[in-house]
């Protein structure tokens, strides 16, 4: 067999799947977002019309789109730093020579990552129940006023953020841990001899050495958090008062509840553009930090 042809035979199954079920739909989504594809077009394709950028224009004038965008940005801007902070903190504790039973702790801290979002979101819904929830009970013991966590428009998103941090921090913890273990112990040794405090060691050795890891983990986490959907779907159904409707939640409702597939595709593309822009911005910011 000719080796070139052999290679293409090995590639064919995967490339066909990716082409038909990913590349083609992505291109079709762009086309779809320029049409008024809705329930009528679903019934009969002759009802389909090309509308140019009208879907995008209409979205930009819809308050619900802007509030969904605001909720998603809130989730990303607060959730990602908290998530990374928890991951780095846990990784540093696990990396400390003073820590005992490390494999056991590592497994325990990682366990939430492998669980099913829907199932653990259901658990959290009961833990944060206003009347019988464990969260309010424990806060009550500490003398703190109980809250209506998932029922209060101001508290629903913070509760979802807490849930996401709990569910996800273990993943980046493992990556940070590997990064910390790769830092040469001599660096800390030298710093100690020079009399650097633990805080300054962290500030001037740990953080700079972790920077490449931090950038990669940051970008992956940001794009993951932009895709917020299952959490509000299960915990709040977008409520109360639509305070937890995310961009993807809006896309799902628009597309599969109201069958406005054209407009929903425009939502998906705007999200993609935003994620792309934020990723480029993060890369740029990190390069600028290297210059001086």
């Amino acid at each position: 067999m000719n080796p070139q042809r052999g290679a293409w035979l090995f590639l064919a199954p995967a490339l066909v799947v990716l082409g038909v079920f990913f590349l083609l739909p992505v291109l079709a989504a762009l086309a779809l977002s320029l049409t008024d594809y809705d329930l009528y077009a679903l019934a009969d394709l002759r009802n389909l019309r090309f509308v140019g950028l009208a879907n995008y224009w209409a979205l930009l004038q819809r308050p619900l789109f802007w509030s969904a965008l605001g909720h998603t940005l809130y989730f990303v801007a607060v959730g990602v730093p908290l998530s990374l902070g928890a991951s780095l903190g846990a990784a540093m504790l696990l990396n400390s020579p003073l820590a005992r039973c490390k494999p056991l702790f590592r497994t325990a801290l990682f366990a939430p990552v492998v669980t099913t979002v829907v199932a653990v979101a259901v658990i959290w819904r009961y833990l944060f129940n206003t009347k019988y929830g464990m969260a309010n009970y424990v806060l009550g013991l500490l003398g703190i006023q109980p809250g209506d966590w998932l029922g209060d428009p101001h508290w629903a998103m913070p509760t979802i953020i807490a849930f996401a941090v709990w569910k996800n921090f273990g993943y980046n913890m493992i990556i940070f841990l590997a990064g910390l273990q790769a830092i040469a112990p001599e660096l800390y040794e030298a710093a100690r001899i020079d009399g650097a405090s633990p805080w300054r060691q962290f500030r001037h050795i740990t953080l700079p050495m972790l920077k490449p890891t931090m950038l990669m983990v940051g970008i992956l986490t940001v794009s993951g958090y932009f895709q917020l959907f299952a959490e509000p779907y299960v915990m709040t159904e977008g409520g109360p008062l639509q305070s937890t409707v995310s961009v993807l939640y809006l896309m799902y409702d628009e597309g599969f509840k109201w069958w406005n597939l054209g407009s929903a595709s425009a939502v998906a593309f705007l999200l993609f553009l935003l994620m792309f822009a934020v990723t480029v911005l993060l890369l740029k910011l990190s390069r600028r930090g290297e210059a001086p």
């Binding site: 658990i123 009970y137 990556i175 779907y233």
Partner: protein, 273 residues
């Protein structure tokens, strides 16, 4: 700082974090054995007074959980087995076979990773509708048959196979398929195990796409079934916790049994190639 105090602080913090990480899961397990209504009391009980299987019986006999469990096992196993074949073949080709445009094609695939999967979902639904695959197992399985991440993972690992080994086999007259099956596959065994766990967990836990494509209860996987039960039975915390146990326990057990492979893969996948 006093070394004994520092040691107590580090281990105390770890213990506290582990408690926060595990408490919801242990609470779920405990409540799933409580009698209906028992968890709705003040103070919230930690352990069941008379532990029993009533919630599980209710789930499997009346709520159709057995069907969802079977669907999840079927769908996740099919995705794991088939996507392994597709990703192993392609990853090996990108690592070891020479063909025109190899690097460029691979870069293009990696570039596609910036596009979130949800962008494809709306047209994909229409495509599957015209193919008659909406509300079928095939509708969930087909789009998951190959993944860029899986191909990337296999390629990273397969690059370590020495070329001399493959050349020697070619000189001995072995065909490409035989080389793959008899020499390459045994060498790729560790990454095969890793990728299998990744694929199975991702397929088992997947929510948004099955929610879209599975329109009838008879095909629901566990996460979809559980989400729909949670909307119907919002007040039955004991029943829902039993449902969560059934959903989470298989993946948690799989992870505990094979965690070394899983964590290795996580690190391999996060290294930019």
């Amino acid at each position: 700082m006093n070394p004994r105090l520092a040691k107590a602080l580090v281990n105390g913090l770890l213990l506290g974090m582990a408690a926060v990480a595990l408490f919801p899961l242990l609470w779920m397990l405990s409540v799933s054995f409580m009698a209906p209504g028992e968890a709705s009391a003040l103070p919230p009980p930690l352990l069941p007074k008379h532990p029993g299987w009533a919630n599980y019986r209710e789930l499997f006999v009346r709520a159709g959980m057995g069907r969802y469990l079977l669907n999840s096992v079927l769908v996740a196993s099919a995705i794991t087995a088939l996507s392994l074949v597709f990703n192993l073949l392609a990853g090996y080709a990108f690592a070891k076979l020479r063909f025109a445009g190899r690097e460029r094609l691979f870069q293009a695939l990696l570039g596609a990773l910036v596009i979130p999967a949800q962008v494809a979902m709306l047209p994909l639904f229409l495509l599957l509708k015209y193919m008659g695959l909406v509300n079928s197992y095939a509708g969930v399985v087909a789009p998951a048959l190959a993944s860029v991440f899986g191909i990337f993972l296999v390629r990273q690992y397969a690059r370590g196979i020495p070329d001399e080994l493959l050349e020697a086999a070619r000189i001995d007259g072995a065909g490409e398929w035989r080389i793959f099956a008899q020499i390459v596959l045994p060498l790729l065994k560790p990454i095969t195990v890793t990728l299998a766990i990744f694929s199975f967990l991702a397929a088992w836990n997947d929510f948004m796409w099955p929610l879209i494509v599975l329109t009838g209860q008879e095909h629901y996987t566990l996460p979809i079934g559980l989400a729909s039960l949670a909307r119907e039975h919002a007040q039955d915390s004991e029943l829902m916790m039993a449902g969560s146990v059934v959903t989470v326990l298989p993946v948690l057990a799989l992870f505990l049994a094979l965690q070394r492979h899983y964590l290795q893969g996580l690190l391999l996948g996060s290294v930019k190639g």
